[in-house]
Symmetry: D2
Amino acid sequence: MSDALLEAVTNGISFVDLGRQLNVGMPQSPNHPQFWHTLPRRHGDMVRADGGSAANDMITTGTHVGTHIDALAHVSQDGKLFGGADAGQSCLGGKYVEHGVHTIEPMVRRGILLDAAGYLGTDVLEGGYEITVADLQGCLAAQQVELRAGDVVLIRSGWGQRFAEGAAYVGKDSGVPGISEDGAAWLAAQGIHAAGADSIAFERLAPGGGHAALPAHRVFLVENGIYIIEALDLEELAQRRIHEFTFVLVPLNIFGATGSPVRPLALVAA
Amino acid sequence: MSDALLEAVTNGISFVDLGRQLNVGMPQSPNHPQFWHTLPRRHGDMVRADGGSAANDMITTGTHVGTHIDALAHVSQDGKLFGGADAGQSCLGGKYVEHGVHTIEPMVRRGILLDAAGYLGTDVLEGGYEITVADLQGCLAAQQVELRAGDVVLIRSGWGQRFAEGAAYVGKDSGVPGISEDGAAWLAAQGIHAAGADSIAFERLAPGGGHAALPAHRVFLVENGIYIIEALDLEELAQRRIHEFTFVLVPLNIFGATGSPVRPLALVAA
Amino acid sequence: MSDALLEAVTNGISFVDLGRQLNVGMPQSPNHPQFWHTLPRRHGDMVRADGGSAANDMITTGTHVGTHIDALAHVSQDGKLFGGADAGQSCLGGKYVEHGVHTIEPMVRRGILLDAAGYLGTDVLEGGYEITVADLQGCLAAQQVELRAGDVVLIRSGWGQRFAEGAAYVGKDSGVPGISEDGAAWLAAQGIHAAGADSIAFERLAPGGGHAALPAHRVFLVENGIYIIEALDLEELAQRRIHEFTFVLVPLNIFGATGSPVRPLALVAA
Amino acid sequence: MSDALLEAVTNGISFVDLGRQLNVGMPQSPNHPQFWHTLPRRHGDMVRADGGSAANDMITTGTHVGTHIDALAHVSQDGKLFGGADAGQSCLGGKYVEHGVHTIEPMVRRGILLDAAGYLGTDVLEGGYEITVADLQGCLAAQQVELRAGDVVLIRSGWGQRFAEGAAYVGKDSGVPGISEDGAAWLAAQGIHAAGADSIAFERLAPGGGHAALPAHRVFLVENGIYIIEALDLEELAQRRIHEFTFVLVPLNIFGATGSPVRPLALVAA
């Protein structure tokens, strides 16, 4: 076996699961169709003559629920998508042919955790706190890692610990911590490939402000073609101080969609 | 950087996509809710004061559509799931708490392609052809690979080339080629972790027989706890003669479901 | 034309719409899948050679959302449905074959409005207020109508005016006014065919109590085979003091379901 | 009681159900999301402390499945809806605000059955047969009824008997009998309010032609503002020779949709 990757894999690896479990009733943005799972057929409903039976499922869901990735087609500014594509024309026959989630390549890349909450000496940053460029730079220095072009950067505010609280996680009244326009512009300048966070809208939301303005989304999705990953679970990575890892993310290949639920992994050699 | 895996990744890898694109109208079993994707909100439907807008999606689907994995809870025999779990009791509150798809660990493992069609000197095996144990053994020998415990084995019948034909792929009248009870038992004896194929029901279906009997499902899911992956696209792997690779599969973490759509990858060092 | 009904109809009738409009985001119980409507195909997505095009819809929804009717199969008590049917056995192959909504006959019957709020001299009864048997009897006397066997009785608490407020209508904290066990028993004794109200759960809910106990549901659905209609709009009927009318309700004929969205009408000769 | 309608109702009426039962797997056009019904919660899944439990449903469906009505917004011609409304502008925020199904008033009107198959001396008209204006006029004469402005006209080809056959009912290869452009224009000239048929596309489909051209839809929906009702069950009406009746149809009030499943009734005095 001469494949260095397979050799590393067979020598032993472990993974940290960065995705949330998909449960009926979990917190999600009211802008998106609610996640539901139900069993049309359970064992016993129909048993074949040979004693076998099969159970199955029905799912209805938005694509921006649970841990998910935003395709570039998700956001437009002044009628344009990334690269100047016309936001209206990009939708052909009811599908975002251009910049839909089917255009996102699966990611197996260097991943970097920026544990902003840890760097700032707190467990959970406050609702509405803006993680600044200085915070990002200070955090990198403290963690002794550097960004490289093509990296996937995951920013931990600690807010993910509120996922189990439901509506508090959405943070309509409290606001939500995160980077904003400046942080996004600085990260884009480093040439990153994608950015993620442990909150539902990735970027800082002002208290009471809701989703009225999403400048980091504009900077990443429209201006720089950088993907955004939301509602990550970054707690275990932070606790184990795994700041550099192999990041794996495989979006569902849904033709023409604006996003996909995902279950990203952080892989490390055992 | 002392992580051998990350080093292999950053030295350069490439991947082969083994998943089918999810398209409205693609072939699927009529037993499962049909895949649908639609855009509730398109760009232009609601534009914010700052000129930004967001488009989104609604999905309804079964979990056994497109390329997908069967959880152990999918099939029961004589009222039992794998390990003797009671098929009725395993479903608590409308969720398969035991053996649901949330219990499948993400896979980053050695993968083996068994190109049965190639070995048998044909492009597509005939509907109803049973890939025998001798075929599997001969194919391994011809490919000069050996199975190891924990491997994921992907069996190519060539039937996947019919995916674009729609109903022909489902093969109700023609039958579908694949392994059957004997092949499954032999593979299980090798200690494999999961098995996949390029057809919709994984195993051989007799012409006109439909899904009346699925012995390989019973052997794998109920008797041996081996996962089944269906509707794979194995054409590129076969054409490039990639018979050994790093197999990556990350099921959606849907609590209590019997399966999940997946997009598996075969990774190779560049 | 010798048909008395058709003669009455052609001589002129008018109707009051008792159903709520189905809108994405309307208030509903979190126990039931959320109502969503989206357009997979809009005009312009696909235009035929002759210049014609068709737009269409996708709906996902619970059946107990918007104005809806409860089938007898909706509620069980101590493992039994109405008439002693076994709650488990009544569900065959994933369908409530017995007492499902397909067994409810369309209703064209005498309808009676009991304007409890009006009778009690208020616009909206308070959250948690129990409409008593004395209230029901006093209201009937004040309105100078009497109940007859086979009637459909609609009870107005005024709470329906809160529908537009969203969560306030669900009334989790405030409670919701309505009849309770005694009122249900008295109405059942009058031989009514169905009962409705302008609140989401039909019966009185205690402040903070949620749906922890629903005795009127038990009395009607399990003990007496009387259908329940929820989330009616009774404001116009009350304002126009239409206390007796022809009530029309046609459930969707969904095989095996526990309820159906409906749009009941009150018809009156012009 | 001085209400003539209520008096007629209480003197006794009977109804004929003109709607198809909604069943998973029933025939429908592949252009529309498939009807699915499933039970997320069955009795026994969650039992309250007092021994009560509630079962519920999830539905996903197109609106043009089963027996259904087409809103005027369903079809456009050369970019225009009925009355010259712009087909693009009529869709605001993802809803057909103009001519959506929420704009259809519930119908309680004179209904007329035109039993074309019976008039032409056959049980089922052949696939692709065009019911001509002469057929319509001859049928009216034979039945000794006349059309009046405001009527709802139901045309029976007998094709509805094929509903249970599944794909044969859709009639892709065989074509489907029905009226075409001339018949629609003649009926529109009589001032009818709505027209229905016992086939899936209402109008004549040529063998092998599919839905490539639908001229009667254009005449009714775009040029005359006449609603179309599809997939009716007209067998009992024909067998009982009920050619004139009170027609009741109440669409679901789905804001902005292009159609609605319905369950129309034919009422007659007992």
